[in-house]
């Protein structure tokens, strides 16, 4: 028994030595390069942008720094576990949708002194909306990379066949409903339309822009209580329900998987659907013959879409924060962001100088992996809505807050109750707000006890 315990103790010591060695790398000697890590998520072919373009270029410009690239699946959880283990990558691509809570817990390093220092960047060159999600308590925790925006995709062939003009930024909710009605075709009257005017993933997520367009809000001023029970939110939910009742293929977000509205749209069975800017390249790739365009979301009381934003954060555990800052700065430089757009075109860059440059119109794609936009006419039909929305400030990141997860859990259920059980929108939103605020109170009590 004693011998067994000795062996166990020895093995435990070996494991501990390995862990500790990994946590505390040997100090860098003068003349030796500094090794830092960066991490991303996304489609696998996006990695080429980092491994073949960004990192070689950055290492050429900074000969004393070597970058190790990490691509993670299940990204937020992986980063959390890395942080808990003390091995978080030095530079992390993050999205405000999951990072808003982290900002309050010192996962990322405040970068104000670097941003505003002699080796800093010009804050004014970045879209104001891109900064909103990465500031907390007067500190800035990253440098913006892009701004995703929800938009409306439409099938030009189906619109032409119906003799209708294409959607644009002047469209209202009434136009949307009228178009959805006219474009829905059920030739044999069996209740299963051959073409559906408007389809969406019906749930809390896509209800969010409607709530904002109706003049509603998600949070109070300091984001400690939800206000999704406003009369504006109830009005938005009533309109949302009217859309779903008449024009839908999939009645609930519960029906997901590989058969989302985008797949029906690719097959020409859906005339319009709402999705993020990231969907455009994959639609063009999957359905090269499909004639489609993209437009800003129709306006309610106001024109507004929902955005989330990706940014480059430096880990608070980084052993080389200066080198990490250099990399974050490089990755959000005008040149890098312009390349990012031209190569992937999933989301517009967060810099005005990239967005307003002639290169923004020159989408090359990645040969063999992502199609490009060879003509200005095609760029106009698929991308001209982006500068229009951003220049007018028609998008918001308000939905992303530290307690978004709690709110969405109850908002999803409220939307389901209205769509599936015909419940009263005002009543279910009141209940969702009550439950959310109750959850937030408990979470804040737990936070306060730390």
């Amino acid at each position: 028994m004693l011998r067994a315990l000795s062996i166990l103790a020895l093995l435990a010591l070996i494991v501990r030595a390995i862990v500790v060695a990994d946590r505390h790398p040997a100090p860098v000697r003068p003349g030796q390069p500094v090794n830092i890590e960066m991490s991303v998520w996304g489609m696998p072919w996006e990695n080429d942008l980092y491994t073949k373009i960004y990192i070689p270029e950055f290492e050429r410009l900074n000969p004393g720094i070597k970058v190790r690239f990490q691509y993670f699946e299940d990204y937020p959880n992986r980063l959390l576990l890395s942080h808990a283990g003390g091995i978080a990558p030095d530079v992390m691509r993050q999205n405000i949708s999951f990072a808003m809570l982290w900002l309050r817990k010192d996962v990322d390093l405040p970068l104000d002194s670097s941003i505003d220092g002699p080796d800093g960047i010009d804050r004014k060159d970045f879209l104001p909306v891109a900064w909103q999600g990465i500031r907390y308590n007067g500190k800035t925790y990253g440098v913006p990379q892009d701004v995703n925006i929800l938009a409306m995709y439409y099938n030009k062939t189906l619109f032409d066949r119906a003799g209708m003009s294409y959607p644009d930024s002047t469209w209202t909710w009434a136009d949307l409903k009228r178009a959805a009605d006219r474009l829905t075709v059920d030739r044999d009257g069996d209740g299963h339309p051959e073409v559906v005017g408007l389809d969406m993933g019906w749930g809390g997520g896509l209800f969010c822009p409607f709530l904002l367009q109706a003049g509603g809000h998600f949070w109070n001023a300091d984001q400690t209580q939800t206000v999704i029970d406003s009369p504006e939110a109830a009005e938005a939910l009533r309109f949302y329900k009217s859309l779903m009742r008449n024009y839908t293929l999939t009645r609930s977000n519960s029906v997901r998987g590989g058969l989302g509205p985008d797949k029906f749209f690719e097959q020409g069975k859906v005339a319009m659907f709402i999705d993020g800017s990231w969907r455009t390249p994959s639609l063009k790739k999957n359905a090269p013959g499909l004639r489609f365009g993209v437009a800003p979301l129709p306006r309610g009381k106001r024109a507004l879409s929902v955005s989330s934003s990706c940014f480059w954060a430096v880990s608070s555990q980084s052993k080389h924060p200066d080198a990490a800052w250099k990399l974050a700065k490089y990755l959000s430089s005008q040149a890098a962001l312009t390349t990012y757009w031209q190569y992937l075109w999933v989301a517009p860059p967060a810099r005005w100088s990239s967005l307003r440059s002639p290169e923004f119109h020159q989408v090359t794609g990645s040969p063999g992996k992502i199609p490009g936009l060879p003509t200005e006419a095609e760029w106009k039909e698929k991308c001209s809505w982006i500068p229009e929305v951003l220049e007018h400030g028609w998008t918001s990141v308000e939905v992303s807050g530290p307690y978004t997860s709690q709110m969405m859990m109850h908002l999803n259920e409220a939307v389901d109750k209205v769509l599936l059980e015909n419940a009263d929108p005002a009543t279910v939103l009141r209940e969702a707000a009550r439950l959310t605020n109750d959850d937030i109170r408990k979470a804040r009590e737990a936070e306060a006890s730390r």
Binding site: M1, R3, L11, L80, S252, L259, D439
Partner: protein, 314 residues
């Protein structure tokens, strides 16, 4: 040629063993410990310690990022006042109730059929039934989601083909949980069939022969011979089914995301949301401890229940 020593002539294993014998046993014990210690280390590091750590975390307000702070019993107080704990536990129990008896009955029926002499291509059939079990549940869930798609799924297409209305299988609050349960039964049935077939092979043929001589028909043979003698197998499958049923997560995560109307939000899904989406690891640990307690109690109850049945039959 060296022959085996008769058992009766061996010295007693422990009582009255000579000092030399005890020494040999100790040396053998020691060698045994040497062999199992790497495995023990792995189990300790990856199973035992995390379990203990999880229990400890349930008394803290750990958020996965900042250091854990002792929070006393507050997580447990919150747990008993949390209406979502009750509703998700109810959904989980419903899942177990839907999957367990169905799985047991179907797999026993299939195993009995496969065990019959008249059944041809037994190996092929066994392989077909076992195939879903070796397929990733994630892939299986995706495939079933497509099959059950209200517009383009094969299931509704088949129903329309015979003049019936298709259903929103996963979007109808009344149908979503039965559909998830059906997929779970389909996925796990191959394993149960194999275990039952192994159980059936171990039933001595003489017992059936004696029953037939006594005039027992097919049903009586099943009721008085097969079923009692398969009780240990049924006990094993029931226990595993309850434990597995309370841990359902993947199929719900992929097929319904807990919806519609929270009807498929099971306990483990809520635990995952609490821990990894809301970053309330301390509370999630308390939820895990409660789950452990429930499963332990149910397993002990089943153990006693089946053992009583077994002792009656024996």
């Amino acid at each position: 040629m060296k022959t085996m020593e008769p058992v009766a002539s061996r010295p007693p294993a422990s009582d009255g063993a000579s000092p030399a014998g005890r020494g040999r046993i100790k040396r053998e014990d020691s060698a045994g410990w040497d062999f199992v210690s790497p495995a023990l280390l792995i189990i300790c590091v990856f199973v035992v310690l995390p379990c203990i750590w999880g229990i400890a975390l349930s008394f803290t307000s750990f958020d996965g990022i900042l250091p854990a702070r002792f929070a006393g019993l507050s997580n447990y107080q919150r747990l008993f006042a949390d209406s979502l704990v009750r509703s998700t536990l109810w959904n989980t129990v419903l899942f177990v109730v839907l999957t367990l008896p169905t799985g047991i009955v179907l797999s026993l029926a299939i195993a009995l059929a496969l065990n019959e002499k008249w059944f041809r291509c037994r190996s092929l059939a066994r392989g077909i039934y076992f195939l879903p079990n070796v397929t990733s549940l994630v892939a299986v869930a995706f495939v079933w989601e497509w099959l059950l798609n209200p517009e383009y799924g094969l299931v509704n297409a088949g129903l329309r083909g015979v003049g019936l209305h298709g259903q929103g299988w996963l979007s109808d609050p009344h149908l979503a949980m039965p559909c998830v349960a059906m997929v779970a039964v389909w996925h796990g049935m191959g394993f149960s069939v194999l275990i039952y077939m192994a159980g059936l092979r171990s039933v001595p043929g003489e017992v059936y022969e004696a029953a037939r001589i006594d005039g027992a028909g097919a049903w009586q043979q099943f009721r008085h011979v097969t079923w009692p003698l398969l009780m240990p197998t049924t006990m094993f499958l029931t226990m595993m089914g309850v434990i597995g049923g309370f841990q359902v997560f993947q199929s719900v995560y992929i097929m319904t995301g807990g919806g519609p109307l929270d009807r498929t939000r099971v306990y483990l899904f809520y635990l995952w949301q609490t821990g990894f989406q809301n970053l309330e690891m301390g509370y999630a640990s308390a939820l895990a401890v409660l789950l452990f307690g429930i499963v332990l109690c149910l397993t002990l109850f089943q153990w006693r229940f089946f053992n009583r049945r077994l002792s009656v039959w024996q």
